[in-house]
Chain length 370, copies 2
Amino acid sequence: MAKVKISDVAREAGVSLGTVSNALNHPEKLRPETLKLINETINRLGYLPNQSARQLAGGATKSFGLVLPRLDHGFSLQIASGAHNEARKHGYDLLIANADNDDILEDHYLRYFMGTQMSGVMVQPMASPDWHPAMTKMPVPIVHLDIHCSEPGYYVAADNEAQGRIIAELAIARGARHITVVGRAAFMQLTLRVLGIHKALALHPDIKIEVIDAGEWNTAADGYGIGAQIAARPADERPDFVVGLTDVLASGVISALVDKGISVPGQVRVAGCDGNPLAWSGSVPLTTVAPPGYEIGRKGVQLLMEQIENKAPAKTKHVHIGSAARTVTAVTAAEDINRQELVRPFLLERASTQASTQTDATAINLGAYL
Amino acid sequence: MAKVKISDVAREAGVSLGTVSNALNHPEKLRPETLKLINETINRLGYLPNQSARQLAGGATKSFGLVLPRLDHGFSLQIASGAHNEARKHGYDLLIANADNDDILEDHYLRYFMGTQMSGVMVQPMASPDWHPAMTKMPVPIVHLDIHCSEPGYYVAADNEAQGRIIAELAIARGARHITVVGRAAFMQLTLRVLGIHKALALHPDIKIEVIDAGEWNTAADGYGIGAQIAARPADERPDFVVGLTDVLASGVISALVDKGISVPGQVRVAGCDGNPLAWSGSVPLTTVAPPGYEIGRKGVQLLMEQIENKAPAKTKHVHIGSAARTVTAVTAAEDINRQELVRPFLLERASTQASTQTDATAINLGAYL
DNA sequence: GCTTGTACTTGAAACGCATCAAAGGGGCCG
DNA sequence: CGGCCCCTTTGATGCGTTTCAAGTACAAGC
């Protein structure tokens, strides 16, 4: 049970300590026989290099840290997935920490990663990173994800405003006369979506628009409540297009409307706004705009690599990724549900979505969502 | 940009190196003024302890590593969530690595964690851990999750067989005469579910049962294909109850059946088998059995703590968590879809589900799935 | 046989910190 | 005033590696 260290391997193999180290890090420098001997000894003894010591002695390790606000948020997972693949491509490991919606914890893990000699760190922050500016001038490359920083630094953000615009344009294209936006714009991202919707509609003063605040957490239950409220209105005061700022909200709205006997999309169309897998993997898909989470993660790692390779003092560099990507559309099964984009059978649609975005692994990854 | 180290802080604060170290690790040993002075200096200089050095000097850190096969699998996330909460409760950090369905990578991260002086490591292995037995006799506490080990060691597994049994019993209770199980039992977990179904049905020889293999990955598309195939049969050869070994499969089956004009659950009932959030968060919920992922993660950390505290040589210890937990049932919106558990309105049902399982944070966590 | 070069191998130094025995300082008691 | 004890601070030591200048062995060329 006592840990076997490099010197044990060296002694046992009858070579010096430095040679074992070379076997691990620069195998090309050793004579093949020596290498083989050492590897055998390593396996026989069950030697496991002490990462702490390696890092201490050798400087940074080839690994990145990623701090996410939650793990059960599909978008964050797309980020993680994109970051992971890109990191592996460069031969880096990716370690993920869950801040669990807690400022303190986010800060804690951030410091932890910076102190672990990670080669770089990424965060999808809950608050603006300006909130803890100390972090931005750390001796480790850092990239903020899904957020706009005013301070100099690196960040990758999705164009949330465009996302709102796209949904609004979809509504316009579908001939909407009265649009209801459902949800609490508690986060900057959601606020921007609303802004995008307003901007797009500014050109169409004849279209009526209202925004209904949902409960604090934008849950499906909140959506259901608002849906019920909408259903209860006289027909001529009902919107003909509802946008859930969140897919889950949209789901709730649909449930309520249909429960109350209102046809979707016959009388009211409903769309979501964040490309949640549940929106298009369920048996009744929902039209939604998918923000490019995977791409954000990928780009984040690329910015990290850039900082590492150039070793230049971090100048400001921001990357914007258009959210336009694609609108997940689908045909539903049930007669009565959200059939608005009736192009082809649901599953074929999904299949074709995957096929057409092979370069964008998002679809593939989400597709495997069991 | 040069990293500031503990000696810099000490010099700047006019105290010795050991005192700064104490400020960090044993603040109660310092006079309040000294502590304050040091903390101010730390902040002023932006000092960040080098975790590698700490670990090297001080032995294990209070942190656990968790290696997951994928991140976009709801079940794994429940594990992560449970493990995280339990770990934090004990004051431990949790770092997560994504093995991305790759044996090599799983092994890599496992070694990485073991070498990082983690206090303990958990894996949800893809293959049986007997596959790489070297890992089980490492000098770091390790717990295997969601798998049965024959070797001595610690593991936490869900009772997948019970899961199959529960679904089968549901089918029986609903008066099924012909059950079709859909899916490829590629993994042990799925095999056990099938086994459970068979065992439960052994008592009912009059009920016909068939198993249809799905494509390699049990995707929704696979389910759709099989659903279409079922739909094409003459009415009297069609099952009246379909079990998807995976919720996604079940979703696909439903889509196909309804597309082909077969009423669900009027003519055919369909149930899933793994409590995927998409099953019950979507606008059309699916009946499914939820395996206790959250509980598995929690229990895993508890076993780790046990090993750490007792420091006894790891004896075999296995924990089984019954999957019985709860059957997520729901009322759907659309007339034609899977309404089989028509108890009360969908969202109320969900609300009550959450309320009744406050102690089981699974529901709460999944509920927040945006 | 001697020199030069090539191909490996060696081992001491440093990495940044936690630890802990020992020293320092101050108050209290006799 | 001396002796004790307690509270606080000190700094040398070692943690397991990597690195790199210095060393060894051997072959080829003269």
